[in-house]
Symmetry: C2
Subunit: 247 residues, 2 copies
């Protein structure tokens, strides 16, 4: 299992991912799911993956090493726009599906597979996409500035309530961490450490590219405070007034 | 879709259910999912259902009208203990699956099906069970005093944090309503009005058997307060301290 969330705001982009992979409950490991592709000052991409690990690793390798196109071998960083980059990833995914995906499915392994792809190319618009197994994708907009992949339900209520396009970027990171905390608490398949990037619009350098290890003081404190605040919040709500009403 | 939650505590039992049914997104209706079986002063049962509506209605009818057993026709209220009552429901479910369920599945309709069954028989222990399609069931315990069916993920974080076996029963109803609110906000397939029962241990009469209609002032106020509290809670958490750390 996996949980990744991306938030694309007026001020910039945050992408947060967990690192737990599991084949069943008895085979748990830590693998990075948030990957950075960077041409300093020119192109800054973040790619978060959910789904079959062998399949995603193979796609990542092709995106870095190059994919045979009509114009020759091209990498993800060769793409001229965010949209073209997303299309390129889609092509690579479809190709990998033909060459490996079908065999994986025939072996009885499910190939649920989604990705978050976001970033900015110099002098172009910042983008955040959610990509599907067929290589198709949707784009985050000011109306719905966040996208999730993997185990998305536990962490969605706080995003629904707290995320607005105009909010502060640091605040968005905080909300993403709360959303991750809710997911970690409720699903054993999502776990620490956490990786995230923060990218301010037009800064053309990652503000942050950080791993949060278990026991890291800020995240630990956030979890405690959030739990305490939820307890207080529900205790502050008056008791239900429904008296004995018979049937 | 459906969301129902049952909480079985030292003080008693709360069961809360929504009423929205949908066949696709374009065929939405309101049907009661929380059903009461009552022999005043003797037997008090609540049964909440999630899954195919025709199938659940057929099971409910048999539980009321009677099921042919080796000892003759028996209804749910004929059963002498909560455990025997749950076994009886299981038998009825398995029988319905043979007579209708297989045909429903052959017609290409999924038959996900779960129930919450709780209550008390005079001078016996109060019980809450989660029942599956095979007629098997698990029982809530002081360690995990709540059980959910249907769209359970959005509303689980608050239950995980707030429910304890020793908590006040009115407070448990409040927490169940908050859990329902999170689910309604995030899933269109779960909607008002809401039905709930509250049963105090050994009282042998329902404290409450109530429907909450849209716009009902307490639930409306609870939703507003909870939203405001969540916003305040995340704003009260200090901003992340992760400075510009390069790579």
């Amino acid at each position: 299992m996996t949980y990744c969330v991306g938030i694309c705001l007026q001020q910039g982009l945050v992408v947060l991912a967990d690192t737990r992979t599991n084949a069943g409950l008895d085979n748990i490991a830590t693998f990075r799911k948030l990957h950075v592709f960077e041409q300093p000052g020119e192109k800054l991409f973040a790619l978060a993956t959910a789904g079959n690990l062998a399949f995603t690793q193979s796609i990542l390798a092709v995106l870095r090493e190059g994919f045979e196109t009509a114009e020759g071998t091209r990498t993800l960083l060769d793409q001229p726009t965010m949209f073209r980059a997303a299309q390129f990833i889609g092509e690579v995914v479809r190709h990998a599906y033909q060459s490996e995906g079908i065999a994986i499915e025939q072996a009885g392994t499910s190939l649920d597979f989604t990705m978050l792809f976001g970033g900015q190319i110099k002098n172009q618009a910042m983008k955040l996409y959610l990509m599907y197994r067929a290589g198709n994708f949707i784009e985050a907009t000011p109306d719905t500035p966040y996208l999730q992949i993997g185990e998305h339900k536990y962490g969605k209520p706080i995003l629904d309530r707290a995320v607005t396009y105009e909010m502060d970027l640091n605040d968005a990171l905080k909300v993403a961490l709360i959303s991750m905390d809710s997911t970690i608490r409720s699903n054993l398949g999502v776990g620490m450490p956490l990786d995230f990037i923060m990218l301010r619009r037009d800064a053309m350098a990652f503000d942050l590219k950080t791993r949060i290890e278990p026991g890291e003081p800020y995240f630990h404190d956030l979890r405690e405070r959030w739990s305490a605040a939820l307890r207080r919040a529900h205790m502050d709500i008056p008791a239900p007034p429904y008296g004995r009403q018979g049937s």
